[in-house]
């Protein structure tokens, strides 16, 4: 399924994996987390690395009878009993506060906003004191506001020293904001900054379809083919040209 994948993720990096459906993003994540064995080659994870895994919001059973506090506590399975210790409660409070979820530990997960729901699972991963945070499609199925919240949160965690690896479909909303991107389609097509990877040649090889890239405020914006043929794009391009001419 996946071939020619050579990837080094160092401590403190913030890496996004992009690629079409079936490109092997999830398989790569599963290989890294150890739930899928590589047929050839190897995945080397520094001994004792703790992985904090944040599942897709869509895969969570929101009707399960569980409160925010219970979601966090379940990861600490080394302590067996249901009741949390005083030190655990203090840590829980710290993690929840850090993620803006203060005072919500007794709430059912369904009673939270979209952004809070995603953050609860980031909080659960953080509560396990991970060395690397792995997020599977953190912005799929969330609204624009929640997407902003998640992006801010991840940037914040990264600036505080967390190592983060995520997969995403969202090229403009999320991928273009990350420091390093890996374009995947059965193999690694490109690996580098968004300016190096979000370019038409790479994207065409990754997605198998021509994609246009515009620039806005120094950031690449990817437009798909259908959209590029529309009036909107022509208008935008015309506008950009006139802006450039005005500046000259």
């Amino acid at each position: 399924m996946l071939e020619n994948v050579t990837l080094h993720i160092r401590r403190g990096e913030f890496v996004g994996i992009v690629g079409p459906s079936g490109s092997g993003k999830t398989s790569l994540l599963r290989a890294i987390t150890g739930s899928l064995a590589a047929a050839r080659g190897s995945v080397e994870v520094t001994r004792g690395t703790r992985i904090g895994y944040v599942p897709q919001v869509e895969s969570v059973d929101w009707n399960f009878p569980i409160t925010v506090g219970e979601v966090l506590a379940m990861t600490r399975t080394r302590r067996h009993w249901p009741r949390t210790t005083r030190s655990e409660r203090a840590e829980m409070k710290e993690v929840l506060e850090g993620l803006g979820l203060h005072g919500l530990d007794g709430r059912h997960i369904r009673e939270l906003s979209g952004g809070q729901q995603q953050r609860v699972f980031v909080a659960r991963a953080m509560f396990g004191k991970p060395d690397i945070l792995i997020l599977d499609e953190p912005t799929s199925g969330v609204d624009v506001r929640t997407r902003h919240e998640i992006l801010h949160l991840l940037r914040d965690l990264h600036s505080k020293g967390s190592t983060i690896l995520l997969t995403t479909h969202d090229l403009n909303g999320l991928a273009s904001h990350l420091p390093r991107l890996v374009c995947l389609n059965r193999e690694v097509i490109a690996d580098g900054s968004p300016r190096e990877t979000l370019i038409p040649e790479v994207l065409e090889r990754t997605y198998g379809a021509p994609l246009h890239v515009l620039e806005h405020g120094g950031m690449p914006i990817v437009l798909d083919h259908d959209y590029t043929s529309s009036e909107v794009l022509r208008d935008t391009e015309r506008q950009m040209r006139s802006e450039r001419e005005t500046r000259q």
Partner: protein, 283 residues
């Protein structure tokens, strides 16, 4: 005064006292495991497993092997197998489970017809027999209750993690497969020891109804785990007493009481509580 005396009348009989203790314990035990059965969407597995255990019980009766040993081994083997089939999500897992367990059930009936003192023992196992509850049965239910309670408490977080989010639990290094095997073994043994009180045909209801009722009342897993056995025990207690006064089968009366409690909770609870039950899978 007369009414009070009348209500206490059945307690004069030793068989009733034994039945009462056995049923209340069975209700609490099924209530605890029912939480996992309901939340994992395994109610059809509980149903199938009770049928499978029946086959084992019949075979051990015919071969003069101790009931607990014969049916226990058979129950555990089928429980683990069913768990595996269900886990792998092979196409038609439901059908495969259905075929295996009903075949075991049919085999049990055929065996009892051919070799056993058929009618009486079939009825006792199918519908439960309070009269037949011995102190050995009570000791067995008590031992299983204590073991299940200790396991669920001691591995509480791992059980919760594996039930709520198995994929992430695996990534986090939890032995989810082992937890599932333990759960199926506990379920098989529970069905085995409570079968004589409630009966094969109704045991799955006692696994589902108290837990589903508890789900309507609370949104917290730990509270559901406390409420469900309490509801189960209470339904058995009330059901047993009613069955004496109404002269009806204990198993059937217990399940009817549970159904009434469920319906009353459903009607009294708000719309949101009803939605919680609607969201349970395969109920």
């Amino acid at each position: 005064m007369t009414i009070a005396l009348d209500l206490l009348a059945p307690y004069d009989f030793a068989f009733f006292q034994r039945g009462m203790v056995a049923a209340t314990l069975a209700g609490a035990l099924c209530g605890v495991l029912g939480v996992f059965v309901v939340l994992r969407g395994m109610s059809y597995i509980g149903h199938g497993l009770s049928h499978a255990v029946f086959g084992g019980a019949a075979a051990s009766a015919v071969m003069s092997i101790n009931f607990f040993v014969g049916a226990g081994i058979w129950g555990i083997i089928s429980g683990v197998l069913i768990g595996r089939i269900a886990r792998r999500k092979i196409i038609g897992a439901d059908a495969a489970i259905g075929i295996v367990t009903t075949a075991s059930f049919a085999g049990g009936i055929a065996l009892l017809n051919r070799y056993g003192q058929a009618r009486k023992s079939i009825e006792a196992v199918l519908f439960g027999s309070v009269l037949g509850v011995s102190w050995v049965d009570i000791a067995a239910i008590l031992a299983v209750s204590l073991a299940v309670g200790a396991i669920v408490l001691f591995a509480y977080r791992a059980f919760l993690f594996a039930t709520f989010d198995p994929q992430v639990a695996i990534v986090s290094g939890e032995r989810v497969a082992t937890i599932e095997v333990i759960l199926m073994v506990m379920l098989s043994i529970t069905i085995l020891v409570t079968m004589r009180v409630i009966g094969t045909l109704l045991i799955s209801a006692l696994l589902v109804i108290p837990a589903a009722t508890a789900r309507m009342i609370t949104n917290s897993f730990s509270r559901m785990l406390m409420l469900s056995p309490m509801i189960g025990a209470m339904c058995c207690l009330v059901g047993m007493n009613l069955s004496y006064h109404l002269d009806t089968s204990a198993g059937a009366t217990i399940i009817l009481v549970a159904a009434v409690v469920f319906t009353a909770t459903y009607l009294l609870a708000g719309r949101r509580a009803r939605l919680r039950v609607a969201s349970l899978h395969h109920l």
